[in-house]
Symmetry: D2
Subunit: 278 residues, 4 copies
């Protein structure tokens, strides 16, 4: 199988040699390897992708002593396994349509198992793709809606939750449950224009470039570790409505990119940052 | 000569026809025309560039009645006239070197008449290009330094003042004196990372794109109307030092671009925004 | 209604004034106007968008004398009318999925009335969106397939034909029939890597940037007037397979952008070039 | 000192472990490491940067057996050593001014030791920076001029030769002499618009994006391995003169970037391609 080993530890001499020796002992052949030393933080991060005749469980057993020696945070993934993906959406459907389309064409390294929403708007679009749709409206009790939403997801046992323009703030217990596995698309180039109505804010400030940001969700709104960002030039001709329209393409592409990086196990979070080994 | 007519007024029918008729009456031939209607603000903005056998003074006289009819803010410029440019700089010299180089190659539609600085650092570089250098240090009396700086500039009667990485905040009276004619380069993609040490802020936030912003200076720090912005992708590999190094190319290019747009009379400020007719 | 007037003629004084006066006579209010003078070619191009209480037919009648005076090529469009769109596709479905998704979300200023293909591959995807699918295979007689394809389109009376990764070269008579109304996406930054397998060519040449190009189809393969191009940086890590995957996002976005520009009547072709008034 | 080890060999298991073990034996600490496997070519490429208490000569001796075992092409560089840089230029001075400015500010990891040209145009600019200028005109005998130019360079023993808009084709013997150490800037996005007058070609083709390409010079004109490319969007408004002006910024930035990558020993050439470990 093809395996991905991700690790993070305090930097010191010998790590690269030890990991290289480990892969050699397994009989594996490295197809991709990338590493990063954050000198200021004294941290070493590495991702190694290798072909090997062993299971993930076997690799975990044999790597554990190496990891212990260096005090690593680490994970081994079987890249052949496909993650189960849940999508949350509100009224804006462009990211949803984009991801459903990619799923239908086999372009995602995972499977969309459910779409849940606080609105009925995109039931038809979702069901066209044979994906279950769960409508979880707010009937006046916000906490109840949040519990119901979590239960709806739980029924599908997703590995990753994607907020594909889901426009409600989720409570800390919900965020904690999906820590490191919940991705949001914010329709601005964060940290510019955090919060509501970023295109209107961008227009009022008169910026010449707009952006979109995909990030892991944390308790602090719009403050989670950034996975991917892209930008496009705009001009005075772009009123808020046109910014919104033009920005939609950015949002869909950036969110799909971030999801791909996550599904391929290319992201290591450290502090408020990510290292993306792509 | 080649003239540029810039105007701004409340939008209503007939403006385009009236301006077109004016140019026709002068015997001029339009080589470039661009306009913008800000529907939300109810504003009409236009720039018309035309070849004409008349002086700027004659054009101003003949256009005044048209402008009065529509209540326009307006200006006529002779594009053959070259503006006098003053540069302010502190210790970082890359924008200075870039602009001096462009000046020496005849690429600026204006002439650099003086470089002033609170440090001696770039005297040699400046004088190599035959440009006068004025050192105006802070001897412990900030207000005195500011007055001395203004006097140093006044001696050269500049039309435009460029803050080419001048790292001191200027007082309101100084800003007011050069309103609409003082351009600053901020080394981030504003409004992200306003204030001090933007590359450090960008690194700490873990952004995947950095930028640079050239704007007119107003009393509110880093809040003036944006003329030009550019961005580049970065990654976890870029520590603050490397962000700074990579950002320097952006800063120089964006500042030169903004200066060009200003010198060619392509910018109309309205509210906190600019329309750039390029 | 909202009207768009597009015109092209030999440049000479008085055109702008005459067009402005025309709009004023109709009682229209200009919401957007843009023009271009190609000095080398001696050509003047203009697009004026205005709100007016008149039909397109009435506007055509009243503009005809102005057009005649200046010898204009011109057109008036009612921007409220929605074009009928036909899509041609082969085995790669990402542009198709993207356009169907946009159509379903109401983001296209037109309606997808049919998808035709030389393969059955994307029947299910298409029919999910309630759009008719026509399979027109090559049974060994190329000319017959081409005639059958044209007939399949004719049944739906499309205004514009979009080659959304249709991988067969169309004969001159087919191209002539849709001149100025058939848009192709080429998966490279033309004129680099025209012809077959552009990602393989790009990899072999070792470029650091790839692109996608949307253009009107002409008799000369990959030589038609370019409407839109976009690019992205790549590196030695991107083998042909990965270039192809990364390029798909570019292709979908560029094709959708070109189609939008066409549907909004923002493109004027002149010679081998386009002026895009956006 | 800080060392860079660059290597290239047929891919097989154990290389990473062997290199890691080598660095560990030297007592070095890896600060940056990057590698690439070209699966199609069966090639493995790696760059390792490490701090070590040894000379380059000592490292070369101790690495030689490892290299021999795997049949590597390889090099060890002391990153503290500064290369000697020669610039060739013709009439366009923007790349020259940019590099001289960077040199004066200490931004180059090397020293500009001479500027040579077939024109006198930029003597003053060069000498302002205290850099020797050699005028080597063509007096009607092309071969003689080429020999004279080579001799002028030889007198300064440069490590790298930069064609900073030197507009003459150099003969094979000249190219061979500087193989892998001579960098050219071509003012287009190669392979589009190779040869003369690329901005005119770009305008005639009506492209919507232009670019600049820095590459190692080989016997085949404009066909050498590409080190860096950048692009910018353009429109129908950009006539050939304006394309040329706007492109100058791209050219200067791309050439400086390529030179930096070369001086920091971040480029490995293989076939017609480069791997750039940045």
């Amino acid at each position: 199988m093809r395996a991905a080993l991700l690790l993070r530890c305090v930097d010191r001499p010998g790590i690269v040699a030890a990991v290289g020796a480990f892969v050699e002992r397994t009989g594996g052949n490295i197809v991709e390897a990338d590493q990063h030393t954050d000198a200021a933080a004294g941290l070493f991060l590495q991702r190694v992708e290798f072909d090997v005749d062993a299971t993930a469980a076997e690799l975990r057993r044999s790597f554990a002593p190496v990891a212990a020696r260096f005090g690593m945070d680490w994970a081994v993934h079987d890249l052949g396994e496909r993650d189960r993906i849940a999508l949350l959406v509100s009224r804006q459907g462009h990211c949803l349509a984009d991801l459903l389309g990619r799923g239908a064409l086999g372009e995602l390294a995972g499977e969309i198992v459910v779409v849940a929403s606080n609105h009925e708007t995109h039931r038809a679009l979702t069901e066209r793709f044979g994906v279950p749709f769960r409508h979880v409206p707010d009937r006046g009790d916000r906490a109840a809606q949040e519990r119901e939403l979590a239960a709806a997801l739980d029924g599908f046992a997703p590995d990753v939750v994607v907020l594909a323009r889901y426009m409600r703030i989720l409570p800390p217990w919900f965020v904690a449950r999906w820590r490191g596995r919940m991705i949001n698309i914010h329709h601005s180039f964060l940290p510019s224009f955090a919060g509501a109505r970023p295109y209107l804010q961008a227009h009022e400030r008169g910026v010449k470039v707009i952006g979109a940001t995909a990030h892991y969700v944390t308790e602090e709104l719009d403050e989670g570790p950034i996975i991917a960002q892209q930008v496009m030039p705009v001009s005075h001709r772009d009123d808020p409505g046109r910014l919104e329209r033009r920005g939609r393409d950015l949002e869909a592409v950036v969110l799909a990119e971030a999801l791909r990086l996550h599904l391929e196990h290319r992201v290591i979070v450290y502090g408020r940052r990510t290292a993306v080994f792509d």
